[in-house]
């Protein structure tokens, strides 16, 4: 349970109602004055002053901080929304806050758009789309998106790379695609894997009733844990070294102590099964339209692609922003930088894969113990996942970043053993992370015990590692964003051809690694072509075309509409040259219009 301290101030509440933005929580800071007076009177003790004064910030995310956020905890939907709202208030020139849709239960899907709004046209800058938490239980996947917003806003104008990113590019930050699942996971009793899906009722056991037999917190300890029963014929026993932490299988020739009975709960609907039809029961990250397969092939796919309001909102948003060239979808866990395709033989053009490999390899260095791998080949087959659609359907270079790996517990490339994990729980977390087994009288099973791992254990980092996790994952994604196409008209050469005839060469340079249109984009004509055009009141275009050899001065001639030259793509770190043969005089303007590379103008004049 998250507990709210204080409420929104009346003014802010009003602003809130008017703009329908996430609530801004104003923590009422306790009066420290009394404390100060008390301690001053006694002397010999440090003053209980504001410790933030007189500090030297550690490197990474430096002061002054306008919006204080503690990054070692998980915020609910309102909390993460409130961070975005505060950032928007503190950084109006860098942000725009809106909702891209509503969840099944009516929560807003917030988006904070972050860019230097006064530098260039925000809608025409190359776009980086970042979302998280499409799986409700994968909570740090939303914190990292808020952290990114917080970091970008505070470091703009302070760190050159951040300044350049916000001057040139635009970030669309959607922390929670599944806020219903998130709030349920945070507030209600849950296990590590529960509340993953959406919240629309689903009849998992096909008995005509939906969501009628979920887990319960039987013993009222606030956690959904495991049930076990003492059983001379059981095949499980407590681990001899970590009896409070670990259950292990009895050896084949050894009697066991317990039978495991699964998640905590009862048979609510009297069908002889326990917890077989919990809340929801589908997976929104199998609901995207590229390589989608129905539920009998892909569990959780739901009735048809984009059937859910959340996934539909994301798809509509991406379609409405043709400038989005790159994307990151945050998840937990496993320490994996996943790229498509989701299935063997799925779509992945080699030129695009090469880029994803290079960026992913950098990610492996930024993120110790993470592996940059291919979903179907190195993990498992998925149909209809988000990054497959973003890439296959829209030609956007996208990853699924699975945040947190237990390899980080003991800082090694090898996964820790069960005993290692129990050791960590016992000696590093001092036991926090498990609920001790306690007896319970179950209506069906009789005298049982309930206990085991808390929901936070396994898929989320402990508090003191969470901030590192957020920062490193953001750093990887900022590196990814740093490869977005960056166009420049680097040269505009006018050569007189005699009389009022001129040859104009326009050099358009892409200063970054990512092409304006990926191979997938070009192959399926997803984005419009990049268009280099020329216009002047007293200028007539006689011929135009791409320069095929700048040294031998070879150029093509377009078949029609010579005032505009269509380019398939502008490759990364390269330049294209376009020739115009002009007749006339006076000023003219060259325009480069690239959906994903931006809109550029350059003025010049014929002598």
């Amino acid at each position: 349970m998250t507990r709210r301290i204080g409420g929104a101030s009346p003014t802010l509440q009003k602003a809130n109602a008017m703009t329908s933005r996430p609530g801004i929580r104003v923590g009422v800071i306790a009066s420290m004055l009394t404390c100060w007076l008390w301690s001053a009177a006694w002397g010999g003790q440090p003053g209980a002053t504001d410790p933030a004064e007189g500090t030297l910030p550690a490197l990474g995310a430096s002061f002054p901080i306008k919006v204080e956020v503690a990054w070692n905890r998980f915020h609910d939907h309102a909390g993460l929304g409130s961070i975005l709202a505060r950032l928007h208030e503190a950084f109006p020139d860098l942000t725009k806050l809106y909702s891209i849709g509503k969840s099944t239960e009516g929560r807003d899907l917030w988006c904070l758009e972050v860019t230097a709004r006064k530098v260039g046209n925000p809608d025409r800058k190359p776009g980086m789309y970042i979302d998280g938490n499409i799986h409700g239980n994968e909570v740090q996947a939303a914190e990292v998106v808020d952290y990114t917003a917080w970091y970008l806003c505070h470091q703009y104008g302070r760190i050159d790379r951040v300044t350049a990113l916000l001057d040139n590019d635009v970030f669309y930050l959607v922390p929670m695609v599944n806020p219903d699942g998130r709030d349920r996971w945070l507030r209600d009793c849950n296990g590590a894997m529960s509340s993953r899906g959406g919240s629309a009722p689903t009849d998992n056991d096909r008995d005509g009733v939906a969501d009628e037999d979920d887990c319960e917190d039987l013993n009222g300890d606030g956690c959904i844990t495991q049930m076990r029963i003492k059983d001379p014929q059981g095949r499980w026993k407590r681990h001899p070294d970590y009896p409070e932490y670990l259950m292990v299988r009895a050896k084949p020739d050894e009697p066991g102590e317990y039978t495991l009975l699964g998640w905590e709960g009862i048979d609510n609907d009297g069908d002889g099964r326990v917890n077989e039809d919990g809340k929801g029961g589908y997976d929104m990250n199998r609901n995207y339209p590229y390589d989608w397969r129905p539920p009998y092939i892909q569990y959780g796919a739901r009735d048809y692609p984009l059937s859910q309001p959340e996934t539909r909102a994301v798809a509509d948003f991406v379609l409405a922003h043709p400038n989005i060239a790159a994307a990151q979808c945050y998840h937990n866990s496993g320490g994996m930088i996943l790229r498509g395709p989701g299935r063997e033989g799925g779509t992945m053009k080699s030129a695009d894969e090469r880029l994803l490999e290079i960026i992913g390899a950098r990610g492996e260095r930024i993120l110790p113990y993470y592996r940059s791998i291919i979903t179907w080949k190195d993990l498992y087959t998925t149909w209809g996942d988000e990054d497959t659609w973003l890439y296959g359907g829209r030609g956007i270079l996208a990853y699924t970043d699975e945040m947190w790996t237990e390899r980080n517990l003991y800082k090694g490339d090898k996964a820790p053993s069960n005993e290692d994990e129990a050791e960590f729980l016992k000696q590093v977390l001092l036991g926090d992370g498990v609920v001790p087994w306690k007896p319970y009288n179950h209506p069906t099973y009789g005298a049982i015990e309930i206990g085991g791992s808390k929901k936070e254990w396994g898929r989320t980092p402990p508090s003191f590692l969470l901030e590192e996790e957020l920062h490193r994952n953001m750093a990887f994604t900022l590196y990814h964003a740093g490869t977005l196409p960056r166009l420049r008209i680097s040269d505009l050469a006018v050569t007189p051809l005699g009389g009022n005839l001129f040859k104009v060469w326009v050099t358009v340079e892409n200063q970054r690694m990512m092409p304006t249109r990926t191979a997938q984009d070009v192959d399926h004509q997803i984005s419009p072509p990049d268009i280099v055009s020329i216009q002047g009141d007293s200028v007539r275009v006689l011929s135009s075309g791409r320069v095929t050899d700048r040294f031998f001065q070879r150029a093509e001639a377009v078949e029609y509409r010579p005032q505009r030259v269509e380019l398939e793509t502008i490759s990364g770190m390269e330049a294209v040259r376009v020739q115009f043969i002009l007749q006339g005089s006076g000023p003219f303007t060259v325009t480069v219009d690239s959906a994903r590379g931006g809109l550029l103008h350059k003025d010049a004049s014929l002598p």
Binding site: Y290, P294, Y304, L306, S307, H524, Q525, R561
Partner: protein, 586 residues
């Protein structure tokens, strides 16, 4: 042409169906407004039977209607076996909406006059979507009249960064967008030597050199030397469903089920799992010919355990429309019909209600004759005349275009106004060249000439009547009750399917979208010595197939036990086990 003129004519449709009208007159068909008024009129006539509600609003804010025919409350209707008929899902379908509306009228009439139909409607629900794409339908009534598959969602068809910048124009002012042919040395076509109104692709292997270009009617608005390549018009609704969806094709649209209309239809069928038979009017057809079967089912091949049902419905269909043999048909990707079978596990029929190939076959049956053809094994040669797709040139005689020539001949004999004679026009893009405008009238190739419309609709109606009779229908067979000891009973309940289709098709089991039939006893769990409150029954075959469930129960003497059978497609039934009698009978 003046729209108001058409509108006034439309209003008179109620009063008099014009028999003297020429073929494809606007007034035979109803535009969105007229359809709305017609349906409202029907609902007023029989409010207890016919309900009309808005399923969606189209992109251009026209209502998409859902007609719901049945008796009783919403809950009654939504638990009974149901048929869904969808028309006007493809932009050029006029005959489907006409047929659907005519069938509703017929159901209403028979409900009043024919007791078996009245009985049937008391235990069946009929859902009809008479026109899913009213925006496209409206183009038939617009000036100029233009035929197209989808709605008017903007799209950059030619991928040049400009949207909808090169539409068609009515060059000869006849109110119709047809074709134009341009005499041009770079053309790919020649005039068909046997029929100068038709053009043939020049065959370089025969030393032929093209001399005509064949283009849609209009000018090159955006000066890209392509004519009318980017007019308004988005994807075809009936290519946008997720089975075999063809990503990136123009017809499929940008995303599957992306329009308000298609989404509403999809949500409707998801919310109405009682629909057991679906019939969709469109270009695809699986009734003129039995679809292919395979195990496991393929993209277009149904499960071999289900194909017999398709075959049966095909025979019924051909009988209803008077077709004596199987005819080649088309399947299309991404259809609503295929989605409903391949992903949702329902018997899903696709009908192309009319085309000239069918009209020819019905008016002058080919030599391979009816009576035997129906019994032929699959793979037997079909009549080459019937095949529109078979265009391989014969070696000696020039048979190219033979089908097209025969089709044109049929139109000449039955509806000569269908083909607009080529007429010379001045064309700004082809100064000094011979340019002619003509060809088939829009909508003429997919919809029957007016005098035939009533008959087509009547025959389709005959077949539609068959559907409701062939749904699965659950009932209770015998109940056996034995007293095993004091207050201990052995019970066996037989559940029977008196309908025709099984309670679950094989592919309904595979997809898991059709749930198994449940038998639920109204007893506390503690009463069951053997068996449980809810029993999932295996699939029950039609025509009297039976499933049994056995229980041993422990209850007080004289207690009646109520039970309920719930079938997703076959309806529900309730029964009582009279225990007292059983005890006395011992």
């Amino acid at each position: 042409m003046d729209l108001g003129f058409y509108h006034r004519q439309m209003l008179s449709v109620f009063l008099a169906l014009a028999f003297l009208a020429p073929a494809w007159p606007a007034l035979e068909y109803a535009n969105s407004q007229a359809l709305t008024e017609q349906l409202a009129g029907l609902a007023r006539q029989e409010p207890n039977l016919v309900r009309v509600r808005e399923l969606a609003r189209s992109r251009e804010k026209r209502p998409v209607w859902l007609v719901d025919i049945g008796i009783g409350s919403d809950e009654n209707r939504s638990t009974r076996p149901a048929v869904l008929v969808v028309a006007g899902i493809e932009g050029n379908d006029l005959v489907g909406p006409f047929t659907a509306r005519a069938w509703i009228e017929r159901l209403m009439k028979q409900y009043r006059e024919d007791p078996p139909t009245a009985e049937l409607l008391k235990k069946t629900t009929i859902y009809v979507v008479p026109c899913l794409n009213p925006d496209a339908l409206e183009r038939f009534f617009a000036s100029p009249r233009i035929e197209g598959g989808g709605n008017n969602v903007p799209r950059d068809d030619d991928h040049d960064g400009l949207v909808d910048e090169d539409p068609c124009e009515d060059l000869n002012g006849d109110g119709l967008i047809t074709m134009m042919r341009v005499e041009d040395k770079e053309g790919e076509y020649i005039l068909d030597p046997n029929e100068k109104r038709l053009l043939l692709k020049a065959d370089p292997l025969q030393g032929e050199k093209g001399s005509w270009k064949l283009l849609p009617e209009g000018i090159d608005n955006d000066h890209d030397k392509r004519w009318n390549e980017d007019g308004p018009g988005g994807g075809n609704f009936n290519r946008s469903f997720p089975h075999n969806y063809q990503y990136f094709t123009a017809e499929a649209g940008v995303l599957p089920i992306s329009q308000a209309e298609t989404r509403a239809l999809a949500d409707f069928v998801v919310a109405h799992p009682n629909i057991g038979i679906i019939l969709t009017y469109g270009a695809a057809d699986n009734l003129r010919k039995t679809p292919r079967a395979a195990k496991p089912p393929g993209r277009a091949a149904v499960d071999e355990r289900d194909v017999g049902y398709y075959e049966t419905f095909g025979k019924l269909y051909r009988k209803a429309i008077g077709l004596g043999k199987e005819m080649e048909t088309l399947s299309e990707p991404g259809t609503f019909s295929d989605w409903m079978y391949f992903q949702r596990g329902r018997l899903s029929l696709a009908v192309r209600p009319w085309d000239v190939a069918l009209a020819r076959e019905l008016s002058e049956p080919s030599k391979e004759k009816a009576s035997t053809a129906e019994d032929k094994k699959e793979g037997a040669p079909t009549d080459p005349n019937a095949s529109k797709t078979d265009k391989k040139p014969a070696k000696k005689e020039d048979k190219r275009d033979e089908d097209e020539r025969k089709e044109l001949k049929w139109f000449d004999e039955h509806a000569p106004e269908a083909f607009i004679p080529w007429q010379a026009v001045e064309h700004p893009d082809f100064k000094g060249q011979r340019v002619e405008v003509g060809g088939y009238r829009p909508f003429a190739l997919a919809n029957p000439p007016a005098p035939m419309l009533a008959e087509v609709a009547a025959k389709q109606g005959d077949f539609l009547m068959e559907l409701a009779r062939r749904l699965p229908r659950i009932g209770i067979g015998k109940i056996e009750c034995h007293v095993l000891a004091d207050s201990v009973y052995g019970i066996e309940i037989h559940v029977v399917n008196t309908g025709f289709l099984p309670t679950v098709l094989a592919h309904g089991e595979t997809t898991q979208e059709v749930y198994p039939t449940r038998l639920i006893l109204d007893l506390e769990p503690a009463c069951f010595l053997a068996g449980a409150r809810t029993t999932f029954l295996p699939t029950i075959a039609g025509s009297g197939g039976t499933a049994k469930a056995r229980f041993t129960i422990h209850v007080a003497h004289g207690q009646e036990i109520h039970f309920k059978v719930v079938s997703m497609l076959g309806g529900q039934a309730e029964g009582t086990i009279p225990l007292l009698q059983a005890a006395e009978n011992k």
